[in-house]
Amino acid sequence: MGKPKVGLYWAAGCGGCEEVVVDLAEDLLTVTGAVDIVFWPVAMDFKYQDVEALKDAELAVVLINGAVRLSEQEHIVKLLRRKSKLVIANGSCACLGGVVGLANFSKGIELINRAYKEVPTVANPLGLTPQSVTREGDKELELPDFYNTVKSLNMVIDVDYYIPGCPSTPELIKDAFMAILENKLPPKGAVLADTRALCDTCSRRDTKPEKISIREFKRVYEIEIDPARCFLDQAIICLGLVTRGGCQERCIKANMPCRGCFGALDNVNDQGAKFLSALASMMDSNDEQELKRIVDSIPDPAGLFYRYSLATSLLRGKIDEAK
């Protein structure tokens, strides 16, 4: 038999995670030497049709980045699931819903209306919005349906492994490929990154005191940020303590706090709630009014704590209106 066949697909994600595959650089040549990439829309002309032509489970592995937002994406990831032995969710959107998951704080229709009817530059006297089917004279044009709720990949298909990150890193992707080639994969469902939170590898951990007492949270633009000291000790919200490591402290090195893109750890069901719990313990008051004041110094706590994980949070987003 020939080299293992590999596919890469890009659903509702920014595509950065496919750039990361390109960032494998010389390793890309190694990988492409060891496998046959038979499907990679951004870089190659193999077509959707070619995928359908494949036998079931003919692909050794497919890397899918992006969440599921449209009917078309659901259709294709299901097709790929059928065609591939392994499915790896690549990046925050596929694993957690990602930033696009923040849309779950709104209803689908609100997003459409804002973009196509309300923004100041739009000239739309007829109040048109994109339709699944449009008749133009004798012609009929289709668009995929826009779902009300953003879903992570594993809400739509069975996922074997997860490589989180916004974006993921070439190192993690290379390791994943190597694990597959050398048949050294961990148990199904594993997240192929660190098992501990970012603090474990954070260069600032030792500056974090055993007790942090915060009476007012600071925003990154409000103060000069000490480049060596734990952000939380500067009253700046950093999600590093609730976020899986493996990102190489990209943000920390740039003197910016963690925003949680690698998602929570194995035993945590809700990244935002867990972070909330830890952060609240640092709020230095036992008085209700004072606590409210401290909480008010956090701008948009929900948007911040669920930055990447809203779609996969326990509540998945804003509840519906009462019937």
Binding site: T195, R196, A197, D200, R205, A278, S281, M282
Partner: protein
């Protein structure tokens, strides 16, 4: 192997049976995953009930048990013991409270039945995730360290010093007895304090299982209940206590004179000194700070004077490492520093004394040998006693020291005894005379002196009656009130008044100055005063003249309590007293298990209270730290999974018991099971879900949540 869950439903006589369709409930339970049977029984807590369960555990090979009955508060322990005796781990049990929280409160039978079902379902879900827990035991050291050899520490030490147990009594000063031993007579019955203490001092000094370490201080405390390691520095006395007979020959020759802190700095002492006459142990100490030899001068006068070669300049400080199971903190109190309240003129004006200074004036072991004289050697004619100095005031300390009124009464009494002619002005805002005898002694002293404080504050004299549908309160008049409601009082009692009683709202509003050799007072008068000379007085400032003042400053925690608090992981309140674990239920325990706070270290106390607390702490220790026995630890503690812990330290800050610590080597958190109380705060806080709360794990709780909500 598959789980074998047995469900028992107690009828609890009619209590449960009649409130729901108990058979439905049993049928329902029978269907649940892992349940091999659901039995209904008349009364599970009965002997037969217990035997039934035990029998099933054996014969049916139950692996887990669910008991739907009364509150776990009633019988969780009972049933744990039952299954554990039957060979099952006691934690493989879940109690369902279908009595207090179902049958007794849900009146609708159908609803009660449904609720019972979902409660049992939740318990079955939960119990399936229970883990066998082992009760751990740790070696415990029965010996005890007592810090402070005042009357409190000594009584704790004496209570503790039983067979197979050693007590280390650490005292910073050269002598035992703390403050009390320096009082002459103590209220209410004017016992002679030194005489009262003498036997105790003697017993402590010669007790075979009490090791007294004078001139010693704690520098470091490590470990936890049952296993503390304490570093103590024992400063050199430079006098061999065995050789010394206390002849005092060495004192006179010493050329150095320094202020005598043991006489409240009212007098001078030498560099080699006895804290006071009769201080025990009966040997002087050399104060290195002032001794010329230690200022690199040649002097050995004391050594020359000693007939017994007791003086040894070579003796050096030593550090002792003590291994003890518990620590009793009896560090006593200090007085509010009146210099911080300039209106009292303390420290600026002669003959203005604090109560402790006055005690030394009264004391036959004091520098005046008990003579109360003004600085000019004259006898005082008019003495003012002032209550609540720096206390019961938002400006300084808000608390009431509780003993000042009593000892001021004592002072008044002793003054009158010594100089019947002296007139006393007692300036107070309220009298606090708690306890069995103090009020009585107050009354007795007053009478015996012919002093009558004209103020009725006995509410037993109240007459409450109904007049025209309103409640009327009649009460005897007080001669000296500024209370508007008492304005219209008859002055009938006034004539009887001999000494003056001036009542102020806050004695901290006083201003005391010196005016041509006399001490002048200014105080806010209150309009209605029980004093002939002030009879027609209207509100405003009054002048009144005395020639000696005794202040009763607030009792506060020892000035350096903070230092010790840090070493012991204790906290102190705004008045410098150590915080107890629970103000009512655990007044001498602290949040650090095995460390107890007694006497004035815990809060203002009189002598009896202090002694009682010392003995209470001793009792708590004796009941748990039994020589030869191990300490058993509740297994329901938190546990850190090092493979998940990122060392973010969030858990450490939330534990008030200091049970979670940070391992600097591994960069991981670790829970000390001996200190953990199993509250689970750290479990809920850990952002990595790396901490498990045994027997209340996330999984167990979530299974229960799932169970109660499932349709």
């Amino acid at each position: 192997m598959a789980e074998q869950i047995g469900v028992y439903i107690c009828e609890c006589g009619p209590n449960i049976k009649d409130a729901m369709n108990i058979d439905d409930v049993a049928d329902f339970a029978q269907q649940l995953d892992g349940v091999i049977f659901a039995r209904i029984f008349r009364l599970l807590c009965s002997q037969e009930g217990k035997e039934l369960i035990a029998k099933d555990v054996h014969e049916q090979g139950l692996t887990r048990v669910v008991i739907a009955a009364c509150s776990p508060k009633e019988h969780e322990h009972t049933f744990r013991k039952v299954i554990s005796d039957a060979g099952l781990n006691p934690y493989m049990l879940q109690i369902v409270n279908i009595r207090e929280q179902c049958s007794w409160v849900i009146k609708d039978k159908g609803r009660a039945t449904d609720l019972a079902k979902s409660m049992i379902k939740a318990a079955v879900y939960r119990v399936a995730h229970h883990a066998a827990l082992e009760t751990k035991e740790i070696e415990a050291q029965p010996d005890v360290l007592v810090v402070g050899a005042g009357i409190t520490g000594m009584s704790a030490a004496l209570t503790l010093a039983q067979k197979q147990r050693k007590v280390y009594l650490v005292e910073r000063s050269p002598c035992l007895g703390g403050k009390v031993v320096r009082y002459e007579e103590v209220f209410p019955n004017l016992e002679c304090a030194p005489c009262m203490l003498e036997p105790a001092l003697d017993e402590v000094l010669h007790h075979e299982r009490i090791e007294v370490l004078t001139l010693s201080e704690i520098n470091e405390v490590l470990g936890f209940y049952g296993n503390f390691i304490v570093k103590v520095t024992k400063k050199s006395r430079l006098v061999d206590m065995q050789a010394c007979i206390g002849c005092r020959a060495c004192i006179e020759p010493c050329p150095v004179e320094v202020s005598d802190e043991y006489n409240e700095s009212l007098a001078k002492r030498k560099a080699i000194y006895f804290p006071f006459a009769g201080a025990l142990p009966n040997a002087p100490a050399i104060d290195k700070e002032h001794c010329l030899r230690f200022k690199s001068q040649e002097c050995d006068l004391c050594q020359k004077a000693c007939q017994f070669a007791a003086i040894n300049y070579e003796e050096t400080d030593q550090v002792r490492e003590l291994n003890v199971g518990a620590i009793v903190v009896a560090t006593g109190f200090d007085l509010f520093d009146v210099k911080n309240a300039s209106q009292f003129g303390y420290g600026k004006i002669e003959n203005v004394y604090t109560s402790l200074e006055f005690e030394r004036l009264l004391s036959s072991t004091g520098h005046t040998g008990g003579e109360i004289l003004k600085k000019d050697g004259q006898v005082p004619e008019k003495v003012a006693l002032i209550h609540c100095v720096g206390s019961r005031s938002k400006k300084f300390h808000e608390h009431c020291s509780g003993v000042c009124c009593s000892y001021l009464v004592k002072f008044a009494h002793l003054l009158k005894q010594k100089f019947p002619e002296v007139s006393i002005v007692d300036i107070y805002s309220d009298f606090c005379l708690p306890g069995k005898q103090t009020q009585k002694s107050f009354n007795d002293f007053s009478k015996e002196q012919g002093v009558e404080f004209v103020r009725v504050n006995d509410t037993n004299d109240l007459v409450i009656s109904e007049v025209d549908g309103k409640i009327s309160v009649k009460y005897p008049v007080s001669g000296a009130q500024d209370d508007k409601s008492l304005e219209k009082i008859t002055a009938g009692l006034r004539d009887l008044s001999v000494d003056m009683v001036v009542r102020l709202n806050d004695t901290n509003d006083l201003a005391i100055n010196e005016v041509d050799g006399k001490i002048s007072f200014k105080y806010a008068g209150s309009g209605a005063q029980d004093d002939k000379s002030l009879e027609k007085g209207t509100a405003g400032l009054r002048d009144l003249s005395v020639d000696m003042v005794v202040l009763a400053p607030a009792i506060v925690g020892a000035v350096d309590a903070q230092v010790l608090a840090q070493m012991l992981d204790l906290t102190t309140d705004e008045n410098g007293f150590f915080n107890e674990e629970h103000s009512k239920l655990s007044p001498v325990s602290t949040t650090t298990e095995g460390i107890f706070i007694v006497g004035c270290a815990q809060g203002p106390q009189d002598i009896a209270g202090s002694v009682a607390q010392g003995q209470a702490a001793a009792g708590k220790i004796l009941s748990r730290l039994v020589p030869g026995e191990k300490l058993t630890l509740d297994p329901c503690t938190a546990e850190v999974d090092e493979d998940l812990c990122s060392g973010c330290k969030t858990c450490i800050g939330v534990c008030i018991y200091n049970a979670v610590c940070y391992d600097e080597e591994k960069k991981r958190a670790a829970v000390n099971e001996a200190l953990c109380r199993g509250c689970g705060v750290c479990v809920a806080t850990c952002p990595s879900a790396a901490i498990t709360g045994k027997h209340f794990t996330d999984e167990q709780i979530l299974q229960e949540v799932k169970g109660v909500l499932e349709d």
